[in-house]
Point group: C5
């Protein structure tokens, strides 16, 4: 599906289909946003090539999985980032690769499935951004997409705090499993955000780069704003990852301590009753001649001995701080 947004000479904005492309070609004072979603790969390739996109860039755009990147070609600045198609609670993201070809008077966006950020921004309001410069609109789109991650990460902070509390009190396997899953997701996010941060730094460098005028001095605060968001995402994902790791370490220690306490209880019980039971077993034997059994107060003497043993052992354990 291809949709077009044209900013006319008179600054008005028209939304329509591929036919607006011809209008844009004829009038050098117009600006175009060409959005390609779920299109036939062959046709798409032909269209992009005809618009002057580099063959290697088109290949990257159509790859199912490619790390986020930014690269300057002769006509376009090519930006590929990883947006969110669908976010489920617990940091589960279905990713969506979004390619932006940023030209002097044109922005081409390309994606496989519907993008929330693009859908929300594809309207007359964006004409203003596009007119300022296609690069400005591109950065707004990237900023909006990253806002979706940020929302999820901040929601995750609450989740993490609740886990911290639960964990301290009744840590269990289900929580541990969750934390391990979160860590695995955060490590993947961190890698993506690392790529995004590098894109942001490259964008900043293009301002002073004499090879291109696509990104210009006027965009310095917009780029700064974008970079703050990209840095924050990386920094948050790293911090949450570290906190999860510390939770695992702390839990290990708590568990170790509890095990130790449990083992002491077991050892104390065993140590006290096993000798007593042995004595009871001894005098339960059926030998014909066991002199103690004949003693008048044999039973009571044995009970006394047992008391002494039991309390002696308990005193010993108390001294060893086991009780």
């Amino acid at each position: 599906m291809i949709q077009c947004l044209l900013v006319n000479k008179d600054k008005s904005t028209t939304i329509g289909d591929i036919s607006l492309l011809e209008q844009w070609r004829q009038d050098p004072n117009t600006y175009l946003w060409l959005d390609i979603g779920e299109h036939d790969p062959q046709e798409e390739r032909a269209l992009l090539a005809e618009l002057g996109c580099h063959a290697l860039a088109i290949t990257d755009a159509q790859r199912e999985r490619h790390p986020p990147k930014i690269e300057l070609f002769s006509n376009y600045l090519y930006l590929l980032y990883r947006g969110i198609y669908k976010a489920s609670p617990g940091m589960i993201f279905e990713h969506l690769q979004i390619s932006l070809f940023i030209g002097d008077r044109i922005l081409i966006s390309r994606h496989d499935k519907a993008s929330t950020a693009i859908t929300s921004m594809f309207n007359e309001n964006s004409g203003r951004y596009l007119k300022r410069s296609p690069a400005h609109l591109a950065m707004r789109l990237f900023h909006t997409s990253c806002g979706l991650y940020l929302k999820e990460l901040i929601d995750f902070e609450a989740e993490l705090e609740s886990i911290e509390d639960q964990f301290q009190n009744h840590g269990n396997d289900k929580l541990m499993r969750q934390i391990t899953q979160y860590r695995s997701r955060l490590i993947k996010l961190r890698r993506t955000f690392n790529y995004h941060v590098n894109i942001g730094k490259a964008l900043e460098a293009y301002i002073d780069d004499e090879d291109t005028n696509i990104v210009n001095e006027k965009e310095v605060h917009t780029i700064n704003d974008l970079n703050e968001r990209l840095d924050r995402l990386l920094s948050l994902s790293q911090m949450y990852y570290d906190i999860c790791g510390d939770l695992v370490d702390g839990y290990l220690s708590v568990t170790s301590h509890q095990l130790n306490a449990t083992m002491r209880v077991l050892t104390v019980i065993t140590a006290i009753f096993v000798p007593l039971s042995f004595l009871a077993g001894l005098y339960g034997m059926n030998f014909d001649y066991i002199p103690e059994l004949k003693a008048e107060n044999g039973y009571f003497i044995l009970l006394g001995v047992m008391f002494v043993i039991a309390f002696g052992l308990m005193a010993l354990f108390k001294k060893k701080n086991w009780l």
Copy 2:
């Protein structure tokens, strides 16, 4: 609530309300500190915009949570840092975002709740700082705010040493829980301090930056003093975090060793008494014909055998270093 501090042409200082703004506007030899706290967001926005603050900066200032930052706009150097609203023992901080718009003749401070540092510095004495330059006053404020963190961190060192001592002797779950909480708090502090350090480095770079004269050569020692504090906070938070981690690791090892010792006691007791109890049980059986039971000294022979078994096992365990 808006309050103003005006340094007059004759170097005297007047404290008052928003009406001082007009005086400042009319006389180019005056300096103004405009402090906005808990104000209506709409009005605030209008006032700041009218004073020439950039729209993006105002948005950042009004956001509930934004990472600390510094950015140069055309009229102002915009500085956003995270101060302390309330500090409770054990590194629990209620944070407060403080925005400073630093101009040539004006310093605008903006915060949601009352700031300890601003309250303590909003008096005639600060007129001197403001006259020197609004940037100087801004750095003094930032320095004072960070002093609150420093005080808490140094208090925490004593707490940490007491934990170290307790931990070594009678480590328990409550201490472990505390350490895990401290680590989580320190990791968040470290991230904040990391942002602050970056702000400090940026401030230093503005001295030689030709784009602005807001921060000038005269402030080099003030900036240095500020940077030492910011570095120290980062360095201390990192060090305390590492020490907490080592405590967790060390505790794990100690616990492991104690568990091992406990288990050996249990094993030794079990290993010695279980065979003896089995023998006693054997001769407690009621079979019609068990020849040993008829033997004259059967009981005493068995006791002898039991002694041999018990001492043999004890010798074995001694040899294995288990006793």
Copy 3:
């Protein structure tokens, strides 16, 4: 075995043996790809020296193991990388060192065993790449070789996810052993990829290096494409390594928790039955005079006492959250 691929003056491509070398020497408008595989070291050395390769580079090429490198000599840019000879599932690679001597009009490839990437590219199609420049062909070869690693790493991601799932449910020694092996393999891969990334960065630097024209400005996008792949390999190997490490840590915690739960069951059973068994043993003794045994309801009273003890202990454990 030596094979040659010659791009003639008329842009046609001829594939043949060493005899094409003479043709290449006589006509400065031709380009040659000379591929040396499994050849006699002495002859190889002589041939390379005669073609102007530096003695140190030839020594490196013939070493059984040498870290990947790139170095500029007077006639050639020498590139040594680690390709794949054979890949078995589970990240087991049999490596193959491939040396490329990149000249102005010639590419010499040298390897001990058959290289998949070279075999697949040694055909007429590559004439086009060679004509563009020997450096372009060299980078295509390197890119293709690295594609083999990438395929294996992406396959490994599926394997890793399946391990993650299994691990959470029924972690066992076999899985642990596998993960430890994977980590050891990934750490070695990471080191190799680190060397490759450094080669990619050096290649990029040669574009602007005045000392050589072997790599020129036209190759900037090809180098970029190569570097993206090299970076991605390093980044993926690092990420998988970290995920494996987190799995180990997480598994330790889960195991610790399960052990704790098991121990509690054991302790509860022991703590409840051991005192009861002791009582039973006590009244199984054969003393002549044990008054309780004569009591009319002695047996039933004892059963009652046992009930009280058992339920009292259970209530205690319930209160301690052990049940």
Copy 4:
């Protein structure tokens, strides 16, 4: 207490009290080392201010705790480092902050308590260093102070090796406690040394710095020698810290293995004797009718069954590698 060391015009050296200051002031060809120890803060402040020291530097010098630093003021290079007041075995240091104000013809040292390094160097020999340049003497002092750390660290290496040996054989809680304490001390030392290394780097940078001539080209080898020592201290403290960490990890593993071995012994003993004891208990019951008890060879048959069970279980454990 204030003491002075004056290098006279004729290169002779005079040691005396504050009165030498006047002599130094009158003759521009003299050099002075002014050492202030345990002095009244107010007087000290006045004296330093009068000598041209910057107010911020005096404040830093008088603070009880300030991170080591170096900063260039108009008249002085101000250097604050952390020396040793008293070293006890086991890396226990009582620190002493030493401030050095380095001028063109004067070196002012300031400390709260007696400094070993200063005491040992405050004699005629140092006149030679002072004459070369106050900066040279300052670096000699710093070098000597750091030598005290180095001596302790090298002594610690022997201690560490002895711990390594003991640990491997009879690891115990006392050793673990010691290691955890060492780690905590090393982490604090590392932080101090990190600051010192940064001071060393700054010193090196002052050579080429046009803003000052206090440190000049002639001192390049002296600074290098100092920097080697500072780097070595940092590197050693980091290495010992890492080795301590690895000891903890290794000990955890050894303990885990021993626990496992202990548990197997316990399990084997329990598993073999518990069923046998159960059988013995079964035939110790007093039911009126238990047919087996009447069987002629009942007892011997049961003994046989017990043998079979015991040896069967032992064979099973042998097969499982538990014995």
Copy 5:
């Protein structure tokens, strides 16, 4: 012991004692390698000073332990590295500090004990290297010395792989102890190699350094070859260290799992037999009146009850995945 190797004007090489020094002094077209091993420190100091070596460099050379370094003095480039005196299997090295004073026409090597690398290179062949430049010979020596480390590290890889295999199958305390020792040795090696790598980088920088011509452009490939070896040593020592760490972590997990399995066996056995034994004990009591004992089929009913309990518990454990 002092030995000399002189390259004469006619390019011939003479090996002899200290008397060759005079010949070298008289003819500016000769080159000298002066090797000082196990000599009297006082005489050595005098000789080196007379040859123009800097006092600080001589002190460093004679110190028993000094970190490896490189430093440019007026007449000499001073290089101090740590070679191998004796290598025992398992990464046990007896180190030997080798000092090289590299001049325009002279190389002075200084060491306490016999150096394998120097012994093997002190012959006519080295005349060629010396004539090219003393710096070239020095780098050849360093390269050869590092080759001894490399050989040991590569041998260690085989050892490490064998440990990996053993560890997975029958990990035990002896292996753990070995790994901990290896880690401690690798951490020390890594530190040494880190210093060596820094020396290599400094050597590279001297090529373009205008302050000296001792290392010149012709040596670029020799330095590169040396740096590859130094980098490789650092990279290998780091990798082996990491692999050892992962082995420890993996072993901990495996041990934890086995302990868990052992504990389950113990718990299952205990849980099944303890209640049965209690019942047997109950009916082994000697109360006058226990009605069950009189019941005709009491014994068989009890056996049935015991079967139900035993199989019920086994079913429960099966359901809990404990069997």
